[in-house]
């Protein structure tokens, strides 16, 4: 069994518990072990870089140094925000040895020599376990599921080592392997608005609406996400956003958008691997995939 360091981040412990539940279940089913980083602190996300750069690098640096101390050579971060932030700090600290931040970290027993690799569970599942192994483990093929894979921004940009920054495919390949029909649409990596949905509603919620419009226009009846913030924006704001904007540019087609279930990609994999909706936290969702579950 392969073991990886695990960096949960704040969201999977509050509004996205179902993501962690399903992630742990799927990793276990595919014989991969996640070992939680002891005493991890929050990554600071994008917010911290706009307030204090040194601190932003150092708080993430603390997690990297702790990982080294705890002999973890990789940290798996399920949140795209954590994934990017840890990666950014990782590059910076490696590129600036002996600078003020590295030196200060040394002084408080947080020496970091740059050996930790930051990974996203989607990438671990597709490269280390492999799409073929996932396909072989399917017990419940997802007949009738038309899934729009939504990658969002920070998993594919600015570090483009996982997949194409504008037209990524790996999540689609996974959905195909599960027996679902992958839906191709143009806004796969367009921003979900991040925290703007709650801060500057008109801007953030409009972005969410544009995503739904494209996903549904191309025939999706479910959406897969790989980031708790993307998930929250699409899932929790869905009905609000449809009410607010549907009267606008969609009326010409005479059709109001319908809420569709938004799932963490690990929930979809878990379901296809035969886990029960309860184990996967389906009941946590605002729009539950009741019809799809009944059909497959």
């Amino acid at each position: 069994m392969k073991t990886y360091g695990y960096y949960p981040g704040c969201s999977v412990r509050s509004t996205s518990k179902a993501y962690e539940k399903s992630l742990l279940g799927v990793f276990k089913a595919l014989n991969l072990e996640l070992k939680e980083l002891n005493d991890w602190n929050c990554c600071g996300a994008t917010a911290y870089f706009g307030v204090d750069k040194d601190m932003a690098m150092a708080v993430s640096g603390r997690n990297l140094a702790l990982a080294e101390q705890q002999k973890l050579d990789a940290l798996v971060a399920p949140c795209a925000g954590c994934y990017l932030t840890l990666k950014k700090a990782n590059e910076y600290l490696k590129d600036h040895p002996g600078d003020h931040i590295n030196k200060t970290m040394d002084r408080v027993d947080l020496h970091y020599s740059g050996k930790v690799r930051i990974r996203h569970p989607l990438e671990v599942l597709t490269t280390d376990a492999g799409v073929k192994a996932i396909a072989a483990a399917v017990k419940r093929p997802l007949k009738g599921w038309k899934v729009a894979s939504y990658y969002g921004c920070q998993m594919v940009r600015p570090y483009m080592d996982m997949d194409d920054p504008y037209d990524p495919q790996i999540m689609d390949h996974v959905m195909e392997a599960l027996g679902a029909e992958p839906v191709d649409y143009p806004y796969k990596t367009r921003c979900c608005g991040g925290s703007l949905t709650g801060t500057v509603e008109e801007v953030g919620q409009r972005l969410v609406y544009m995503l739904f419009n494209e996903m549904e226009k191309h025939g999706a009846n479910a959406v897969a996400t790989a980031c708790p913030l993307c998930h929250f924006n699409l899932d929790a704001y869905q009905s609000k956003v449809i009410d607010r904007f549907s009267k606008g540019f969609d009326q010409a087609k005479g059709k109001k958008l319908e809420p569709i279930p938004i799932l963490h990609f690990t929930q979809i994999i878990g379901y296809a691997l035969g886990m029960e909706p309860k184990q996967l936290g389906f009941s946590d969702l605002m729009t539950r995939p009741t019809r799809l579950v009944a059909a497959s």
Partner: protein, 197 residues
């Protein structure tokens, strides 16, 4: 009708501003901006900005310090890195935005009742104290400082989250903390030392 001058005289510009931003952001490539507008066209929020990213780059280079630092543009950037990846001059525009945000905060000229800078500072503050974020804590603080009535509007979603166990009553009072806060405080203190020199 008030008539005022709409053009700035060259003598009113802050000529060293561009250079300072390049240093501050670690992004010297700003000087190579060719004003192609790729950033603005790929930006998902540029249509809401007071200055588009292309314009902002030109303003930084030319020394329109006050306009750049007081703009809403920098606080609307959602850090999606689309411009950074696309820029033919390899300007790390997202990092330039971060730099301008920090400068605006340092100079105290960010829009005080605009939610994004308030949220960012609340989050940075709670993480440097506790080591852990509190989604509930920072949202409450942001609302109280910018738009207290906004809390009422959030009630229906809060109820739905409570019903699904994605939010708990204890979240209103409890703040998650790391064990080794002493180390974190030492880190915060240590980093500040340079600023004093």
């Amino acid at each position: 009708m008030d008539v005022s001058r709409t053009v700035k005289y060259e003598s009113e510009l802050d000529k060293g501003f561009g250079q300072r931003v390049m240093q501050h952001s670690g992004c010297p490539k700003i000087s190579e901006c060719l004003q192609c507008g790729t950033c603005s066209s790929t930006c998902p929020v540029s249509l809401y900005m007071d200055y588009t990213p292309r314009k902002l780059m030109a303003m930084v280079k030319a020394g329109f310090k006050d306009e750049a630092l007081r703009s809403h543009t920098i606080w609307l950037c959602s850090s999606c890195y689309s411009c950074t990846v696309m820029c033919p001059a390899q300007i790390k525009i997202t990092d330039v935005m971060y730099s301008l945000k920090r400068m605006a905060i340092e100079e105290g000229i960010y829009p005080k009742r605009f939610p994004t800078p308030v949220l960012a500072q609340a989050m940075a503050d709670i993480i440097s104290r506790n080591g852990r974020n509190s989604e509930m804590g920072v949202v409450m603080e942001m609302c109280l400082k910018t738009n207290p009535m906004g809390l009422l509007k959030m009630a229906p979603m809060g109820m739905a989250l409570l019903q699904r166990g994605r939010m708990e009553i204890k979240d209103f009072f409890h703040r998650d903390k790391i064990k080794n806060r002493k180390q974190l405080q030492a880190l915060v203190k240590g980093l500040k030392v340079k600023e004093a020199v």
